[in-house]
């Protein structure tokens, strides 16, 4: 075998093996990082959503309380009108 070809083949093997292993090893790390940060991000989004939901719930509750108060007032008003 020609020495130039042999050297080229050695280079090809070393680079090929190290790139393939190195890249896939890096992808292992990337997969763990993706999982970690995705979970964090999803948790932040969930927290934000649940906070917003809570806020909406409170607003709805306040609105319903106000609505009940108005209805009570109206009923009381109509009652007073009837009696007078």
């Amino acid at each position: 075998m020609d020495i130039t070809i042999f050297k080229q083949a050695i280079n090809l093997t070393l680079i090929g093996v190290s790139v393939a292993f190195g890249l896939l090893l890096f992808l292992v790390l990337l997969a763990y990082l993706t999982s970690f940060f995705s979970k964090k991000l999803l948790k932040i989004i969930n927290d934000k959503n649940s906070k917003r939901l809570k806020k909406l719930e409170i607003e709805a509750l306040n609105k319903s309380k106000a609505a009940v108060a108005v209805v009570t007032l109206l009923l009381a008003d109509s009652q007073i009108r009837k009696e007078s």
């Binding site: 075998m1 070809i5 080229q8 090809l12 896939l24 992808l27 292992v28 991000l41």
Partner: protein, 383 residues
């Protein structure tokens, strides 16, 4: 009378020789195993038909389009070979788009360490590469093409052959697909030989659910990083990931469906028939072909051994042991190798459900072989 003699001389019966007849039988054999044995029918049936058509003499179907070709002087399959493979090489990336649209990165994201099994199984490529080189019969480029058969990935083999050694394309592609079809005969003896019964019985926990966000972010980052490191792998890797993101995004179901059905099927038809037409008597009846056939087998065997042994080595350090049978799926051959791991696992322990676990190394093998092909294109072109 002379016209009749001229007509007889213009028929294929006069030009056909024994080599063509043998190749016709080879084509019929491919058709037989595709239909009767149901082995890789989507590949072997069109390849078999292509072999038959290519070995019928005087058709001119394989004449490539040349600069000085006259009006309608190029053959139908010559045009497909020239533009689909040797000149533009567009068919393998289109196949990868379809494969990507059918691939699930979930098992890899759920259990990332299985990516290493896909890396270890690439060892077969380098064994066959050195085997081919040591015969002294093949150039560096040709040896690289022979080695890539060990990636057990048809489109990658075709892609690399068309780039580095178009003269070997038909032979390497058919050998790759034939061994992929025969994986059920090649791998099980090695799987049984290199693993103990108790190892084959190892049950793996079901994988966790992977979120949509992870399934979108991971392939995107993988594509960017792999292409930045090995730009020559871009045609395969980019199309693979684009197809996958069509599927995972969930917002383009028509594109995902087109990539994994219509486009993949159309590309498969033309790719496989064109590959079959490259198996002419002149290319097959050579000592080189027999040696490539043997080296392809060596590549498949060493790839399988590499995957199995690396799984065993990983088990020395892992708390939750992995079933070493999934290591053999690292040779790509999606999804046959993964199915085989599952079947052998179930033979030994009916409670074993290895399919989803084996899909991880299987997909890693696809990425690994595309990366190695990219390295070969970058470094061995012209040698």
């Amino acid at each position: 009378m002379s016209e009749f003699v001229d007509f007889l001389n213009s028929t294929g019966f006069v030009a056909i020789n024994w080599k063509n007849c043998v190749m016709l039988l080879v084509g019929l054999f491919f058709i037989y195993i595709a239909i009767h044995k149901n082995l890789e029918p989507y590949e072997l049936l069109p390849i078999g038909l292509g072999v038959i058509v290519a070995n019928l003499p005087l058709t001119g179907l394989l004449d490539p389009p040349m600069i000085n070709s006259g009006y309608q002087e190029s053959g139908f399959f010559g045009i497909f070979f020239h533009y689909g493979l040797s000149f533009w090489n567009i068919l393998p990336p289109i196949i990868f788009l379809g494969i990507g649209a059918m691939t699930d990165f979930g098992p890899i994201i759920a259990n990332p360490k299985v990516l290493l099994l896909g890396a270890a199984a690439q060892i077969g490529i380098f064994c066959a590469f050195w085997g081919a080189l040591s015969t002294g019969m093949f150039s560096l480029s040709q040896s690289a093409v022979i080695g890539i058969i060990g990636g057990a990935d048809g489109p990658t083999t075709i892609f690399l052959s068309a780039q580095l050694a178009p003269e070997l394309l038909g032979v390497t592609a058919v050998i790759a697909y034939s061994y992929m079809a025969a994986i059920g005969f090649i791998q099980p003896p090695l799987m049984r030989l290199l693993t103990t019964k108790s190892e084959r019985k190892i049950e793996m926990k079901p994988s966790r659910d992977v979120s949509k966000l992870e399934k979108i972010v991971f392939p995107c980052l993988t594509m960017i990083i792999v292409i930045l490191v090995v730009p020559k792998s871009a045609p395969l890797i980019s199309m693979f990931i684009i197809g996958n993101l069509f599927k995972e995004s969930g917002v383009v179901p028509r594109l995902s469906s087109a990539a994994s059905n219509e486009l993949l099927n159309i590309a498969t038809i033309f790719l496989m028939i064109t590959v079959g037409t490259q198996l002419t008597a002149d290319t097959v009846f050579k000592l080189d072909t027999i040696i490539i056939l043997l080296l392809g087998l060596v590549a498949f065997m060493f790839g399988t051994i590499g995957g199995l042994l690396s799984a065993k080595i990983m088990n020395l350090f892992l708390k939750d042991k992995i079933n070493p049978l999934i290591g053999s799926a690292g040779v790509s051959a999606v999804p046959m190798a993964a199915r085989l791991s599952h079947h052998i696992g179930q033979e030994n322990n009916p409670k074993n459900y290895l399919l989803s676990h084996a899909m991880g190394p299987n997909v890693a093998g696809v990425i690994g072989s595309a990366v190695v092909a990219g390295v070969f294109v970058s470094l061995s072109k012209g040698f």
